[in-house]
């Protein structure tokens, strides 16, 4: 893991007579800026293209409230909220994935380790099968199902504290139960419901409006400050429990806090898009390889997640036009190919 980092330049930044100080890695900063720029560019593109294409100047005008009524309808009422949900959910998935991977010391760690996505799927499918599946109701079902799974995993794994490996193993067990329930429900449902359920499991951004943006945006604004505060424990926890305790980290509280934040982030993202698990897995890994840092930085991971989801949704909308693919299909495809390519490049370099 640590072989990736050659000698890196790290800059100390001290402000207000040393009262505020932090360290910056220039490479990480540059990578983050590039990620933001590319994401913003993709959002602009996705505002422009569609079955009713709007040229860029018209897009800008519409955003300022000076466009034609039709252009404003498509750009501001339809495409912008959808793109924003993708950005916010992508950030949430990326950050929570990075937290889980660092907590479990495992690059395969993701919120799914703790069974959240599968629990959410069961909740959503039950709503789809028995209540016809309105959007808000489905999101609520997913939220409740996910929380039930996450709490079950944490409680079952708790025994004089939570050990990383035990958490993972209990998560595997609880997830397996939920997966079995999902497969059972989908194979017994009638075909139309099975299809709706599958679309939800894969994850999609169909018909996302400003109400959804407010929901996920509020959630993210609430959780990000807590994440920033708690994230300072991560590097110490990575040294191992004994070293971290010696450095004065309140082990159980720090770990519980981080798990709760990560689950919260996953919850808001999953409720709004469905369990797009691969963003949480690939985002941090891609960010880590781009920044060449030993651990997945939370900021870069979040921005990478946003980029992945926005780009994927753009492709999902246009690849099979006029019909749309669920974004989860594209995310896994794009993210998988990109991660594979990075692995290949890395192998060439080290040879």
């Amino acid at each position: 893991m640590r072989t990736l980092s050659p000698a890196r330049s790290i800059k100390d930044v001290r402000l207000a007579a040393d009262r505020v100080s932090f360290r910056i890695e220039p490479r990480t900063l540059v990578v983050c800026l590039i990620l933001i720029l590319v994401t913003a560019g993709l959002v602009l593109v996705s505002l422009s293209v569609g079955d009713y294409p709007v040229p860029f100047p018209e897009v800008i005008k519409s955003l300022q409230g000076e466009g034609s009524r039709l252009a404003e309808l498509f750009v501001v009422q339809r495409r912008l909220p959808r793109a924003l949900v993708a950005v916010v959910a992508g950030i949430a998935f990326g950050v929570s994935g990075a937290i889980f991977q660092r907590l479990t010391h495992n690059p395969l760690g993701s919120p799914d380790v703790i069974g959240f996505g599968y629990g959410a799927s069961v909740g959503a499918i039950l709503v789809i099968l028995f209540y016809g599946g309105g959007a808000l109701l489905t999101a609520t079902g997913a939220f409740v199902g996910g929380l039930v799974a996450a709490i079950a995993v944490y409680v079952l794994a708790y025994r004089n504290g939570v050990n990383g490996l035990r958490l993972v193993l209990v998560g595997i067990g609880v997830s397996a139960i939920f997966i079995a329930i999902i497969n059972y429900l989908v194979s017994r449902a009638d075909l139309r419901d099975a299809r709706a359920a599958t679309v939800w499991i894969v994850g999609s951004l169909f018909e996302r409006r400003w109400g959804d943006v407010q929901l996920v945006g509020f959630g993210l604004l609430l959780l990000i400050p807590i994440t920033v505060i708690l994230s300072r424990y991560l590097p110490m926890l990575e040294l191992g429990d004994d070293a971290a305790a010696a450095l004065g980290v309140p082990l159980e509280r720090a770990r519980l806090g981080l798990v709760v934040v990560a689950v919260g982030l996953t919850a808001i993202a999953t409720a709004s898009t469905g369990p797009i698990g691969f963003v949480a897995l690939a985002g941090p890994q891609l960010a880590r390889r781009l920044t060449r840092s030993p651990g997945a930085g939370l900021t870069a991971a979040g921005l990478m997640g946003a980029l992945l989801l926005v780009a994927s949704d753009l492709i999902a909308r246009r690849a099979a036009a006029p019909s749309e693919l669920p974004v989860g299909v594209v995310t896994a495809g794009v993210g998988g190919i990109y991660l594979g390519w990075l692995l290949l490049v890395h192998s060439r370099r080290t040879r």
Partner: protein
């Protein structure tokens, strides 16, 4: 911990007894319950009675299939976790399950194939192709950080294949309708010819896996120590990957993907007897079919006259056992 040799052997015998019980139950229990004595009679000399016919034509092939697939998945999971040194590794991690699934959905959607025996070779070819790509992309798990790279390569290729599988299902409702039954994994409705097709692969894979226990033990001590102990590292990795593909590919081709068994049973085995693969492999080989056959038997009786697929019951029974084991015992790292 139960580390002394006699206790380990006693445990192995206990596993064997459990397996024998599971086999007997699998022969006797079903929509029509058949007394053990009749089962035994039918096995020695079939007298042509309806019970005997059910036992010999229905339940014996199904039980053998479950027995072999269970052994294959248990061994494949243990080998996979040793190879990648990752407790989250399941036999599907090298892309076997997702490769097989992608090939099966292709067979359904583009070639109009609808029978289980028609899927077999597609599933096998898909599993093999995916594994080769993953292995090459993962650099064969060489060097420090190699196992991580192999695992990530498997995950990313797996994600691409799963995306393809879902994409086809989204655009082709007919494919979704068939595929959702294949993906569950079960022993019912798989005909005898399937068993004969995959039998040689399973037997060869089981033998190689058991032979790999010593070199894999050395590998688990780390790259340098392994080499110092005189183990051919590259050869061991290649043989392990090939074995997993043989075992898991054949099992998946025959009965659909059972993700949970290969993941959980090796952990259960480690919780029982520690990390020594010379013991983990036999324990996993005996315990996995107990779980699979037991799940199959339970699935036959819980919602009679219909059946619950073994793939579903396996998780519902196995997961609580895994959780209990993990909670009760010291967690044994790889």
């Amino acid at each position: 911990m139960t580390n002394s040799l006699p206790r380990r052997i006693a445990g192995l015998l206990l596993c064997l007894a459990l397996l024998a019980l599971a086999v007997l139950l699998s022969l006797a229990v079903g929509a029509r319950a058949i007394p053990f004595s009749t089962v035994v009679d039918a096995l020695w000399h079939s007298d042509g009675s309806p019970e005997a016919v059910i036992v010999t034509t229905q339940r014996v092939p199904r039980t053998i299939l479950g027995l072999l697939i269970g052994m294959a998945l248990g061994l494949a999971g243990a080998v996979m976790q040793a190879l990648t040194r990752n407790p989250l590794a399941d036999p599907g991690l090298l892309g076997v399950n997702s490769g097989a699934a992608a090939a099966v959905v292709t067979a359904i959607s583009f070639f109009g194939i609808t029978t289980a025996s028609g899927y077999v070779w597609f599933a096998f070819a898909g599993a093999a192709a995916a594994t080769v790509v993953v292995y090459l992309l993962g650099g064969g798990g060489k060097g420090p950080g190699g196992p991580v790279r192999l695992a990530l390569a498997g995950t990313s290729i797996g994600a691409v294949l799963v995306a393809y599988t879902y994409g086809v299902q989204m655009l082709d409702a007919k494919a979704l309708d068939q595929f959702r039954f294949w993906i569950v994994g079960g022993l019912s409705g798989r005909d005898q010819s399937v068993l004969l097709d995959v039998l040689p692969f399973l037997v060869v894979g089981i033998v190689i896996a058991l032979l790999l226990s010593r070199p894999l033990n050395a590998l688990s001590l780390g790259e340098d120590t392994g080499r110092a102990l005189g183990v051919n590292l590259a050869g061991t990795r290649l043989a392990s990957a090939a074995t997993v593909t043989l075992l898991c590919g054949a099992a998946t081709a025959a009965a659909g993907p059972f993700a949970f068994i290969g993941l959980a049973v090796p952990h259960a085995a480690r919780a029982l007897i520690g990390a020594d693969l010379r013991w983990v492999l036999p324990y996993a080989m005996l315990l996995a079919p107990v779980l699979l056959l037991g799940a199959d038997v339970v699935g036959r009786v819980v919602i009679t006259p219909s059946e619950l697929e073994a793939g579903i019951v396996t998780a519902l029974i196995g997961a609580p056992v895994l959780i209990a084991l993990v909670r009760r015992r010291q967690v044994v790292p790889l």
